[in-house]
Symmetry: D2
Subunit: 340 residues, 4 copies
């Protein structure tokens, strides 16, 4: 961390500033030149509030963090790609997994029908919500424990590992048999939940928040890793912008940037990004080409009757058609893992 001092600061004030830094347990060193004095801090500066130092010390012009505030997720610290193993499936560089299924589990029959169909089409994991965050308190919020139960039945029938969303940490005991715990966009900065899933021995699918930067996403992943769980999959799902033609704006730059800065797998959810069924195929194709390690696609046996998010769900035939195309593309990229 460095601080550039304002021009013309008296020597005495500079020394006071250095003493203050050192009394907080950091080493500092000074470099002075024509018109510029720069104070460099040495030590673990992750806990320092940079803005506060600038605001609280009149002599400081501005400050800048030289090293990233994240350690455990940092590719500089851990250069090899993390591969997340979910029963028979591996998520990470060189592989490609497609997670498919409905927004919410609506009945045992529904989820089993969808699971069988998406597996036949080539999906390697099954998604389905049992606890649904909804903007309105009057909307359908999922089947809760029953939803989890039906999902596990679908797993048993098809062998597909299952992904489902947790809404708060008190639900964790219910997730013992779930393969991947999803932390949704609205919970990306629910730090207590992040800590708890960090202590739970299960892969976590962490979705980027609607208005969160990539650095914040990495810091949230850092919460999970810093508690001992390194099985984290990041998911880009669109950010909130001024554009209203789509529900969110899918930020595909996130894929190469995240893969450069950290060692975790990165997948894309084109369904929630766009909010429009017709955009799912082109965005899925673009995500593969941009280097994603997988996709999460909403698929429903009867979107017209879906109890939530039907507008963006593909039906089973549309998903099958899309997968036929995606398989060619995954092969083109030299990636493996779609079971044919």
């Amino acid at each position: 961390m460095i601080f550039v001092l304002k021009p013309g600061v008296p020597q005495e004030k500079i020394e006071q500033f250095q003493q203050k830094i050192e009394s907080n347990g950091f080493k500092s060193f000074l470099s002075t030149g024509a018109g510029h004095t720069v104070v460099c801090l040495i030590g673990n500066t992750a806990a320092i509030d940079l803005d506060a130092v600038v605001q609280n010390n009149d002599i400081v012009g501005y400050g800048k963090r030289v090293t990233e505030p994240y350690k455990a997720v940092n590719r500089n610290v851990h250069p090899e790609d993390t591969m997340v193993n979910v029963s028979t499936v591996t998520i990470g560089e060189g592989m490609f997994q497609v997670i498919a299924g409905p927004c919410s589990v609506e009945s045992e029959e529904q989820i089993i029908e969808i699971a069988g169909s998406v597996k036949a089409s080539g999906a390697t994991m099954l998604r389905g919500g049992a606890f649904k965050p909804r903007t309105s308190p009057y909307a359908f919020m999922g089947l809760h424990e029953n939803g989890l139960r039906f999902l596990l039945k679908a797993k048993k029938e098809t062998g597909l590992p299952v992904v489902t969303e947790i809404m708060n940490q008190t639900q964790l005991p219910l997730f013992e048999e779930i393969d991947v715990i999803q932390v949704g966009a609205r919970n990306m900065q629910n730090f207590d939940l992040l800590k708890e899933v960090g202590r739970f021995n299960k892969p976590v699918l962490l979705k980027r928040g609607l208005a969160n930067t990539l650095e914040e996403l990495l810091m949230s992943a850092e919460y999970i890793l810093s508690e001992g769980n390194s099985q984290v999959i990041l998911c880009e799902r669109g950010i909130r912008t001024f554009e209203t033609a789509t529900r969110n704006t899918l930020d595909l730059s996130a894929i190469p940037l995240l893969k450069k800065k950290c060692h975790l797998p990165v997948i894309v959810d084109p369904s929630h990004a766009a909010g429009l069924r017709a955009l799912v195929p082109p965005l899925a194709r673009a995500a593969i080409a941009a280097g994603a390690d997988g996709l999460m696609i909403e698929t429903h046996n009867n979107p017209a009757r879906a109890l939530c998010d039907g507008a963006q769900s593909l039906d089973l035939a549309q998903f099958s058609d899309l997968m036929a195309d995606l398989k060619r593309r995954i092969a083109f990229e030299g990636k493996q893992a779609i079971v044919v």
Copy 2:
């Protein structure tokens, strides 16, 4: 809720669409004219996913909700202003309350010193975080139970009612003696938490999320009211935009808009909005002029040593000076409640 059909839809398809609607328990009526056919739904449409209906029915051009999706917070339903009573203090139209205190409670001495000083300056409530949401897992996260304990000591010493943030529902039992439970910006759509505070018999201070619309804020308040707790105070604290000169962009339009659409009190937090101490006074003055019912201002006995958010905290003398100015302004607006 109305749906405008695409031009040239055959009569038979229109009838199928109406039957589908009615099989879901709604009444519909049709109006036809030169080139336009409009289907109106009658009934409680709050649970309908409008976008899904449009996407899933080829004959529908677009749909529009005619009534707001919120009921309990709606001023049309409940025209009188809600006044929230917090021990000796009342928050609502015609009154003006200033909540002051540090970002986080750091020690018993600190919070008691600050409490005494801000009370002397005219603050009528005390804030102070015991559980702090922090972007980094390595940052200071508050004193937890001890923080609550010190806060209650400061309350006992000064008589100021206290406001503090809850981070997850398992903490609720610790909040029995707290006067107002704050739900922070990052938790505005933590729906399970909203439901729990809705069942807890305490006033709630609900902050707008960084990237949430006013309608979403109202829907989150609706969660609390729909569980039986109508003692909710809304708080505008800045939204995330492209501008980087301030931490967030304070949206003062929120005050007149929220007060028009709902009956709840609306306060403003200029400290978190700006992230810069020097902007707190002008934004506080603007908030009063725009019709706010109160302010929440970060104040610290030693901002240069603050363990979090020091960059935006006023020191005790700055707060005192600001309050001298604000009192004149509150009087100018014809509002009461600052204890002099």
Copy 3:
């Protein structure tokens, strides 16, 4: 255009509203049902300010445009894809063109060297700025007339058609020999310029503004087409969001959406979107997969010495490597037009 009236409006007020509409030259028809009255306007409503009607008529609850406000660019009106012919090159559905070259023309030697190299790598058009919009008045602003002259020399040497940006309408006479006139992002709503290029008989490359919606982009294209020039190429180049890791956020949803709503070709500029050289290849690949009709890629013979935008320019070898990859992808998509 339809207006839904508020509940309980007296018949007399409804009639006054209809008379007002009809006195403005529109026909209206009324549909009434349980609780809803809808007034539909018939006629060319493109010039009506919808918000004003709602605000200015107390009885109106809300209004909605039923038809798009654009005509000439509308795919419903003109279903066939527009193919833009630029000397030997065709831009449009089924084809794929790569426009390459430096941010600005810096010398005759520079642009000729770059032109020869990018042609050899497979680019089919040459870009290079002669008039450069720069945030700072102290930055390099291009070689102006000399820049155009050097660009035309490079065209003569290589046969590549040339694209260059116009900054204001007084420059039009200088653009007689230029193949494609670029209207930059900052000028997307410079309506007088749009009208002038609409009267000039040259293809126009219209870039999306940093904070403009897709509908606004289409309306700006409509300005050009409504003056008689239908040779317009749209270009997505990133929008401004809260994310600071990239210069802008590339919105690839724009490709399928624009191609659905209008009949014009759509290309993508990954260089300005990302602002980072390392992101250009993955975003270029993603754009092809999402259905773009071409790419515009900044390429420089010596990016380290580039007088502007060097941070995002590929050098000639990097461009050559990228093109080798892109050609495989263009072939994979079944598109033609890269000259090998």
Copy 4:
């Protein structure tokens, strides 16, 4: 400007980097410490593309501008407040001016009626558009030369100085008798226009662009001042965000920030910011309290018939009522200049 080098860079590469800098005409000095090497550039760095240096030099970790890129508008360079004189009216610190009038001049009678009324209510300047930028090519675009003529008649009748928008530099000769030339939000980065109004001897009202940062606004003002015209008034008019309840989000932090960084007057346009008539009074009050030097308020003799922007216009009685309130507030702030 400083550059912090990556850790472990060999001495030889550092020297090459310094030679490169110095061959570009800058002096540099080096400071080295435990783990950090910082290179500081000395000289006028305004023309350097910081990002390009970072991207183009592998050894550089990041760079930072130490001084602001603007000079002429910089308050550090020019500490006294600029007062802009417009015939009998002065705009700047300590004064307060209200500019009122319609979105567009629609007829001689209209503008004269409005001018007389707003003057009687206390406005000190008259606005009215003759050239109107409109999103749609089919919308009303103003009366052009006739509009200017009618505006000057209204000036003659009432003595109010007039403000009106220019759309391109070819119109400048028509603006000889206009008192203040407005450069609209969409033209804030029309750099050729900025240069031309910088050479024209008239006060300029420069509106912030919809998606422009405050630093960009200052750089655009710098264009005008660097051509010799220092009579510039800045205008905050709302920025584009994800919130759709208002047309734009008014950013009142802009007032104290701009007044701190530069010496120019800052006014606020609450009408275009909100897009809703009912929000104009509270936002106008807030702007005064936040320290604005003036307001620009859309006012129409018959908003229900206004040819553009009627949704946000006050009628003459509403404006009169608002002014009665604003006068009390301007007096409260200790500012002068409303003629009563």
